[in-house]
Symmetry: C2
Subunit: 354 residues, 2 copies
């Protein structure tokens, strides 16, 4: 899934170059890192990228080793349930009973060995029973920015690993609730990584998302007609119901299991989150490019290039410079980038900065 | 006097383009505004600009209507007393008894009519007696960033205006002292604007700055020799004692008078000071160029051009963007720019940003 807008990494992420097409952390685009990461588990010819028209060229550029036809553009974003449905149809066309994984393209996971092992366990689980499999991240802190997965005890051992039954998926909690989740040891972070067989996920659409299921059936039929996928996507995809896969399927299904994931994981949701992936200076400043800080400046994140950014006497700030635009924002206000971008959208003189 | 480094306006001011060569306030370089301002009082052919080698081309570009030979470069900065001595010799060469004004090139004065009138009164005063004349600004606030002039009652009426005797020049005061100055009504801000006749200022050098006086005599003699001014400046100027005209002459002379100035005046000493020269938005933000603020942002100064600067959720900040460098600095830390520039000087990879 490589269709996000990456607004929270503005101005480095733009409409045509969102977060997953940038090396926000690491030395290649996050999407390329994601494709590399699954290489040992899924053959390249079976790796699909679902993106948008605006990002199609960028995704092809980031994944030169994938068959270009495997990089599929939605005519417009319809959220993750529709993207899952599209992926399901693309896989089904090749093999109607195959298992496939749905993976976000913009996360940081450094322990690729452990990742590959647990992704394989998830595939093995999905192939062994009619279950929706998810990889759940063991929480390291009472995060309020993630959804959680409540496990219900051992489902079965797969490849020597405990795979847990799932009681329910829960929305982002408040802090107190998150602290309770952490203390109980019964919850995982929902990282949006799923593995299932085509018939199992199709049944879930049918049971819990009937309207979307009908739309996907229409899309499947249209793709088999003369116009093929291009015409089918253009005509049918925009009519699909816009809903998240968590809401449409995961929160409603009772046949969900979770593979507890022990690899490092970070969704790097916004600029302040990059700090933990770089070595800070003695004052906790993470300075990328020509950056200088002076005068009691602490816990700054600066992202620039050959352009010098000088920050004097202010702490806990993010400064991001690109040739077109610069962002200055306290770490705890990073979520307000979206409000700024909304205003940019409404100013014809400034839409070029989106 | 157009030789300052303008460090406090970094990164817009650079070594070759200091504050007086930029339109920090107004639509032309501060130097060009200064030259325009004296046009009604001093004929163009009698206007000299004293600058540095690095800024010579910039000053000529900013003053296309002045005779190029009137723009004279110091081989190196030797502070304002030496610049005054150089000016004195340049004027003396044309007319050994002429009165001339020494004026900073980077101040903002909008009431040019009142300014021209009071500058004429200062000339008339200087021509009527053996006095060192200064223009003193009526203080509007207990500023601790300026030196003050303590007046000692009426010296005489000149052109219908009260010109006051001066008791003494005083250094920058602390706040309590400045409040006392303001309350007394007996003090003016020292704006560094002086008018005097050549023999009177020469006598002041002789009486109060003997070492510099000797150096100036050497410079004068050298300028009359075969190599002319170019050789004389190159050889003698660097040997002149580095001292301010306030310290060398004004604080020690007893024949000083002050013309109380009622025009608006601002030396615009640093970035935060530009705010009062522009119309702020409803939140006190002064935004020049493509700038946007969001999320409870107040009293911001942003200076940019076609490059977008977005500031989110932080107040009382200065953000200055130029194509080469960006400064982010709380208003009350603006003086620390100098520390940052000191570090730039010591880093060979970054001296290009000076």
């Amino acid at each position: 899934m490589a269709g996000g807008r990456g607004e929270r990494f503005w101005p480095q992420s733009r409409e045509a170059t969102p977060k997953h097409l940038l090396p926000i952390v690491g030395d290649k685009p996050m999407l390329a890192q994601t494709v590399d990461r699954v290489a040992g588990v899924v053959p390249r010819e079976n790796v699909f990228v679902i993106t948008t028209q605006a990002q199609l060229a960028g995704c092809r550029g980031a994944c030169p080793d994938l068959p270009p036809a495997n990089i599929v553009a939605e005519p417009m974003g319809r959220d993750t349930a529709a993207a899952t449905g599209l992926a399901m149809l693309l896989v089904k066309q090749r093999n109607p009973t195959a298992a496939f994984a749905m993976l976000p393209a913009d996360h940081v996971i450094k322990d690729t060995v452990e990742y590959a092992k647990l992704l394989s366990i998830a595939f093995e689980s999905a192939e062994s029973a009619d279950v929706l499999v998810t990889l759940g991240i063991k929480p390291a802190a009472p995060e309020t920015g993630f959804g959680y997965i409540h496990q219900a005890g051992l489902w079965r051992k797969v490849g020597g690993h405990d795979v847990m039954a799932v009681k329910r998926f829960v929305e982002k909690p408040d802090l107190e609730t998150a602290q309770g989740y952490l203390a109980s040891g019964e919850y995982f972070w929902n990282a949006g990584m799923f593995v299932w067989r085509v018939p199992v996920v199709e049944a879930a659409f049918k049971a819990h998302a009937a309207e979307l299921y009908a739309g996907l059936a229409k899309l499947e039929a249209a793709a088999k007609s003369a116009g093929g996928w291009a015409k089918a996507l253009a005509e049918v995809y925009p009519t699909l119901k816009k809903v998240s896969v968590d809401y449409a399927l995961m929160e409603k299904s009772t046949n969900v299991v979770v593979v507890p994931a022990t690899f490092d994981w970070d969704d790097v949701g916004a600029w302040p989150a990059i700090a933990k992936h770089f070595t800070p200076d003695a004052h906790g400043n993470v300075l990328r490019g020509h950056a200088m800080v002076e005068g009691g400046t602490h816990n700054i994140v600066v992202s620039t290039d050959g352009h010098l950014v000088g920050v004097i006497g202010v702490s806990d700030l993010v400064v991001v410079h690109t040739p077109e635009a610069t962002l200055v924002c306290p770490k705890d206000k990073a979520q307000e980038i979206k409000t700024l971008l909304e205003r940019l959208k409404q100013d014809p003189a400034k839409t070029k900065f989106l």
